[in-house]
């Protein structure tokens, strides 16, 4: 054997071991745990899911919430896309941005904010009580209704983004051809537009469904206090709260159930996007003729602005207001306002400072590591000599199908005992590993796809010019991939900063994250401080998003064409 064969073999052993330990080992532990009790193989955990009424109800609740939210979010997303993309509504650019705002606000903060509006002492309830002259709050947010409401607000931007992109790519010539053929406007919509958009709508619906059933923060904050439990909060209960000796096994079983639902969803999405390939062959097209809303133009614009105020403005305003009150229940007069909660939060609560440090630390290191790993993995893959190299993509994208809470349970099972004397559980490293598993997909995707767009000859030109493989990687590939690298880093950075689901299962004292401390402060009922915390997080996240959008926008403008 010469070196040209030994080195790729060695390399692939290393690559697959690392990927296996990180990605496959935890999931296999999860599967094993779901199928065993202390005496070995057993179906007791799975049986517990089917026979225990609370578990059955949690499963049913998840499904009901999933279906209802999917229906409303997809419908809303479709209507909004249509209005913003294909009609002559006013303020298009503003609406396009404002309507996806809920997407940037961490869901548990959104949930908390809605409690400030519609909870027992919520502002809207107070107002309605005042108007109606009753003593009981007329709206009850805790429970199914609240979970559905907040979930719809959090998930409709997914549908909006996917569907409006599809509508944008819908060439006007498709419709013009139908009109020329003699179809009325109505028939054009029914015969051409809807069928062509169906794959995108279906795909959006699946994304919304999977996101909704995987969500933890919203049902934990809005559902649990109203005794409305879904799978994710039930799993959290088994892992954290219930004194059940078999708790982790049952949690593993529930996780497998949730995972199956999510996988079915993903297969469906694959089906939809595959069909989409047939229809996306539209090519370049003439500018789309916008539908004239005529008399509805102004009213429609006003309705959408009210919607934006409702879904983003009102909740943020509610927590902002609460955060400034000296004490809950006081009226809004100048004398009652204070910044003391912010001061207390940022200066008197070491746990908060610590969690900020931890979260920023994780949010900076995880994407950086992810980006480097993605570049190296793709580079090795492209050398074309590693056996089974296509498996790399599949392994890395597995967690995309796995809900966060399920990854959390799997990580506990995998790392709870020290391995080879290395203790990872109860340290910050378990969070680091879990974040890598969860967010690695983003840099991997952006790096792989921008590398695919790179003409091979650009790198070959480096080689013939005299640069070796690594030198070419450094001088040619990486600089040309920088926008893919940058956006992959960002896509991992943003959710890592405010991650809650994994962190709540895996944190330990001293290793809290922002999501964890915010969630715990909210659970403790420190409403004014929680509000201040929520505002701080929202301002940081939205601010960073705006800054980064501006920066990346400028970058794109400066580089008009590639090679």
């Amino acid at each position: 054997m010469n070196t040209s064969k030994v080195r790729p073999a060695l390399l692939s052993v290393v690559v697959y071991s690392v990927l296996g330990i990180l990605f496959l080992y935890p999931l296999s532990r999860l599967l094993i745990a779901s199928l065993s009790r202390e005496h070995g193989f057993s179906l007791a955990n799975l049986l517990e899911i089917v026979t225990n009424n609370s578990n059955v109800r949690a499963l049913g609740n998840s499904l009901i919430v999933g279906v209802v939210v999917t229906f409303f979010s997809t419908t809303l997303g479709f209507l909004l896309s249509w209005l913003v993309v294909r009609t002559n509504i006013y303020l298009k650019r503003f609406l396009q941005f404002a309507l996806v705002m809920p997407f940037f606000i961490p869901p548990f903060i959104m949930a908390f904010a809605w409690v400030r509006l519609l909870g027992r002492a919520g502002y809207i309830n107070q107002f309605l009580q005042h108007v109606l002259g009753t003593t009981t709050p007329p709206i009850q947010i805790y429970g199914a209704l609240g979970v559905i409401l907040v979930s719809v607000i959090y998930t409709y931007p997914y549908a909006f983004i996917v569907i409006s992109r599809a509508i944008e790519s819908l060439g006007a010539h498709l419709e013009e051809a139908a009109q020329i053929s003699g179809a009325s406007k109505r028939r054009v919509v029914v015969d051409i537009v809807l069928p062509v958009l169906l794959p995108a709508v279906g795909s959006a619906a699946v994304i919304v469904f999977v996101t909704t059933i995987s969500m933890f923060g919203i049902p934990a904050i809005v559902g649990t206090p109203g005794h409305f439990i879904v799978i994710t909060t039930r799993i959290y209960g088994y892992v954290g709260g219930f004194r059940d000796p078999n708790g982790i096994g049952i949690a593993a079983g529930l996780s497998m159930a949730l995972l199956s639902l999510s996988l079915i969803g993903l297969l469906l999405q694959n089906y939809f996007t595959r069909k989409e390939h047939f229809t996306v062959v539209t090519g370049k097209s003439a500018p789309i003729a916008l539908t004239d809303l005529r008399g509805w133009r102004l009213p429609a614009t006003i309705i959408l602005i009210i919607l934006v105020i409702m879904v983003v403005g009102a909740p943020v305003l509610a927590i902002a207001a609460t955060s400034l009150l000296k004490a809950l229940g006081l009226s809004f007069t100048l004398g009652n306002l204070t910044l003391q909660h912010y001061a207390r939060l940022l200066f008197d609560m070491p746990i908060v400072q610590r969690s900020l440090r931890n979260s920023f630390g994780l949010a900076l290191t995880v994407p950086t590591f992810g980006v480097i790993a993605a570049v190296l993995l793709t580079f090795i893959k492209r050398q074309g000599r590693m056996p089974g190299r296509n498996a790399v993509d599949y392994i890395v994208s597995i967690p995309y199908a796995v809900p966060g809470i399920v990854i959390g349970v799997a990580m506990i099972l995998a790392w709870i005992n020290p391995i080879l004397g290395i203790r990872i559980y109860n340290t910050i490293w378990i969070l680091f590993l879990a974040y890598i598993v969860r967010f690695m997909i983003f840099p991997m995707r952006t790096v792989t796809s921008s590398w695919k767009q790179l003409d091979n000859s650009l790198e070959e030109a480096g080689r013939v010019s005299g640069a070796g493989k690594l030198r070419t990687l450094r001088d040619i590939s990486v600089p040309l991939l920088r926008s893919g690298i940058f956006s992959g880093w960002l896509l991992a950075f943003m959710p890592a900063l405010t991650e809650l689901t994994l962190s709540i299962l895996l944190y330990s004292p001293g290793n809290e994250t922002v999501g964890v401390t915010a969630f715990n402060v909210m659970q403790e009922g420190l409403i004014t401080v929680s509000s201040a915390y929520a505002i701080v997080i929202t301002v940081v996240v939205v601010g960073l998003n705006i800054v980064l959008q501006v920066v990346s926008g400028n970058r794109n403008e400066r580089r008009p064409t590639g090679g």
Binding site: S457, V464, S465, G466, G563
Partner: protein, 373 residues
């Protein structure tokens, strides 16, 4: 510059053989074209020479250095071969300006700052790019990007220059100009060039020698003139130039050619041969007559056949006429100003015909292809 030797090179991808048993020596300072239809293996061969992958069989040497050898598993990576290469897509790096693009091979070779500057400036001025040195590739036209790519390939004094369809992305006029500039630079610097193209005009215009390839193999090697005037096989005769092709049997040898009988119509047609080897009576043959070798006369002469005008295509300097004859449709190309009306009867003299033994398998396919031209 040094001689480049390719010995019995074969490149297989799984069960597919892209290049089969290819041998060739490229002389120092020679402009050599690899010409053939897409999929004939010309690009694979070029990339084997560049060293982007090991070869399955054979050996490649540059000067005295063996760069690829299947027998000893020796395979020098591209960065160690000292070859220049220009890609079809130019592959000018968009994140470097013109100067940096051209300077890169020198910087990789750790040459001194002054040396780099001097050499790059010399190359840029040779290519009329001195004013563009500080520009980004996105600000350049296609032709300018092409020159940058060429400059980058030239700057390190390569042992040979490999060009992979470098002109195919340019528009027709620019392509003509670049073709001559390339030839001019090659002469001036005494470069050894291996040039891959599917465009016969391009190959004819620039090459000292052409290697005509088809289906992974060499069909003919020769100067442009040799390939055009003395095609060795049906493929060579039909790939270069525009031709009438028909299939028949030798009925008799005549003073200056043959009488060919056509099995389908039963007709018998005289033609003058370009001096190919003699074919026996009764032998099945393919006959190729270039458009310009179908001569139009108004009176019957020795070896002419009657023809009826069907269609004329006027292209300014040249005119194509389509005739109905006992052979079927025959196209003649003429440069003089004869004006023929549709339906007008004339006579055709088929001269300089190339006659080859009929190839049963792909002969039929070729006839089908060429008749559409």
């Amino acid at each position: 510059m040094s001689e480049l030797r390719i010995r019995n090179v074969t490149k297989r991808y799984g069960s597919f053989t892209a290049v089969k048993d290819f041998s060739l020596t490229v002389a120092n300072g020679e402009f050599l074209s690899l010409l053939g239809p897409s999929g004939c293996g010309k690009t694979t061969l070029l990339r084997s020479i560049a060293g982007f992958f090991p070869i399955s069989d054979g050996e490649i040497t540059i000067g005295d250095t063996v760069v690829s050898s299947a027998a000893t598993k020796l395979y020098l990576p591209p960065e160690k071969r000292n070859l220049g290469m220009v890609f079809q897509s130019y592959a000018v790096w968009p994140h470097m300006n013109v100067f940096d693009n051209v300077a890169y091979p020198l910087r990789v070779r750790k040459q001194s700052r002054e040396e780099v500057r001097a050499k790059v400036e010399r190359v840029l001025s040779l290519l009329n790019l001195s004013d563009q040195a500080a520009k980004n590739p996105s600000e350049l036209s296609g032709g300018q990007q092409q020159r940058v790519a060429l400059g980058r390939a030239l700057v390190m004094d390569p042992d040979a220059l490999l060009l992979d369809e470098p002109l195919s992305n340019l528009d027709a006029k620019l392509r003509d100009r670049m073709r001559f500039e390339l030839k001019e630079i090659q002469r001036r610097l005494g470069l050894t060039i291996i040039y891959v193209t599917h465009d016969q005009d391009e190959a004819m215009a620039v090459s000292d020698r052409i290697v005509l390839m088809q289906a992974s193999r060499i069909k003919q090697i020769g100067t442009p003139r040799q390939i055009y005037q003395q095609p060795e096989n049906l493929f060579s005769a039909t790939f270069i130039g525009r031709s009438n092709i028909f299939r028949g049997a030798v009925e008799a040898q005549t003073a200056r050619g043959y009488r060919i009988s056509l099995p389908e119509s039963g007709a018998s047609v005289p033609l003058r041969s370009a001096g190919d080897p003699l074919h026996a009576q009764g032998e099945s043959v393919e006959v190729v007559v270039r458009y310009e070798n179908a001569e139009i006369t108004d009176k019957p002469e020795e070896d002419t056949i009657p023809a009826k005008t069907i269609l004329s295509t006027y292209l300014g300097g040249i005119i194509f006429y389509e005739f109905e004859t006992a052979l079927g449709t025959v196209v003649a190309q003429t440069t003089n100003n004869t004006q023929l009306e549709e339906g007008e009867p004339v006579h055709l003299l088929l001269k300089d015909a190339h006659v080859f033994p009929a190839e049963s398998e792909n002969g039929a396919e070729l006839t089908g292809n060429m008749s559409t031209e």
